[in-house]
Symmetry: C2
Subunit: 263 residues, 2 copies
């Protein structure tokens, strides 16, 4: 049982929760709560260790049993210490330190999301979660976008991180990765997404609410697309705008043989 | 200049920020930040008073001039006191106490949003913002939904509150209000929204992520609709799901004479 805040495991968790650099160098990240730890088990993700406290509920206790049966290192920690570490308002008494590794990008992806300059972790998590739900096969994160393995992104992602390949890349790497795809950029001044053919293998770039898309994103872009809006609201939340566009891609691809508007 | 935390205006602001009951009884609410106060001015909203501190930037100082020119009561407040009141991490040194009044619901609305059991203020604000952008004419809030005039809902709404009629109602009042509308409920087990005719005047009910829709909502519902999802993610964020459906309503209504699928 861990009872000192100077315990090396606790120190590591603190560092991993707080600093992207630490996550990169240690090649590890932290997920909190029963649900996310369960998802990691289900995905067969590589664990370093798990900490839990006696505040854990029934479902959490079951989870600890499963972890132990799977030969994962599990250590009880004083409730106060674990609570102090926690990023959440209602900590559930369990967290896991996981291996930071990338799921592989499929060979010829036909739907890739590029969240560009998204600084808000909640928005990024929402975009990743929706991307997975809408059938995107990978998310490529340019350097300006916030770290996908930060605690708030993981929480908003609700387990997406264990299913969707999420890769941080330079713009050169992104350019190489999507060279065979049609590239669309969400832009208020673009063509209506409902009148644009979004059938082909494509990459969709979503810029930030405050700053829009980066220079690099604009250079790559073949076509700008917009969500038509009758209301006198100047913009949508970046998470929402990206989600509406991703499901429009899915809708069009589900039409199969039907013609889309504008063709 | 206000320099005491016991000042009656500060006490009122604290109470209004913290308690829905206080907002209802006083018929007032608080918006924070330059942008939201600007929106209130633009909408010709009724002000009670404005507090600002010397931390205010150029745009904020201009705003104070405009407010004064409009005969709105403006009072300087010590920066520390204002900062302590603030709900935001980066307070902008200005807040306004506004009259809690409802914009009128149009006579024969053809698109109404009903956020049902939405407890998360960020999700509610996002839904309201998207509703206005997608051309909904009113939002009707059942008793179980969080208060629309809470600080976090106002922030996520980004000024929507000054443009979209937002009414808290009992289920009886809601039933009466939407009696001429077709009623759809977002439900994972519903029919594909892409294969459902969403042309007619309609009300769209969005339940919460955790609890789904209430009994009352289910009783009212004529048809359940779902967003088809190929990804192995069990659900979407309620704000995202509602937004995708609202823009699908807008897309179909923009098709005019074109047939929708399934007809």
């Amino acid at each position: 049982m861990i009872t000192s805040s100077q315990n090396p495991k606790l120190k590591l968790v603190r560092a991993l929760l707080g600093r992207p650099k630490e996550r990169r160098e240690t090649e590890a990240f932290v997920v909190e709560g029963v649900r996310l730890v369960e998802e990691a088990v289900k995905a067969n993700w590589q664990f370093q260790f798990v900490l839990f406290s006696d505040g854990l509920g029934e479902r959490g206790k079951e989870l600890v049993k499963t972890l132990t049966a799977n030969q994962i290192e599990v250590e009880e920690t004083s409730g106060d210490l674990l609570q102090n570490l926690s990023e959440t308002e209602t900590p559930q008494g369990i967290l896991a330190v996981l291996q930071l590794s990338n799921l592989p990008i499929p060979d010829s992806p036909n739907f890739v999301l590029i969240p560009d300059q998204i600084r808000d972790p909640g928005n990024l998590g929402t975009l990743l979660r929706t991307a997975a739900a809408a059938g995107a096969q990978a998310a490529l994160l340019p350097p300006e976008t916030t770290d996908a393995f930060a605690p708030k992104v993981l929480r908003a992602g609700m387990g997406t991180h264990f299913r969707l390949p999420i890769h941080s890349m330079t713009w050169d790497e992104i350019r190489e990765q999507i060279k065979d795809l049609q590239i669309y950029l969400a832009d208020m001044n673009g063509r209506s997404c409902w009148e644009t053919d979004l059938h082909q293998p494509l990459a969709l770039i979503i810029g930030s609410e405050a700053e829009g898309a980066s220079e690099e994103a604009r250079k790559l872009t073949a076509q700008k697309i917009a969500i038509p809006m009758p209301g006198n609201i100047e913009s949508l939340n970046a998470g929402v705008a990206g989600s509406v566009l991703m499901f429009e891609v899915l809708r069009q691809s589900s039409l199969n043989t039907r013609d889309t508007k504008g063709h």
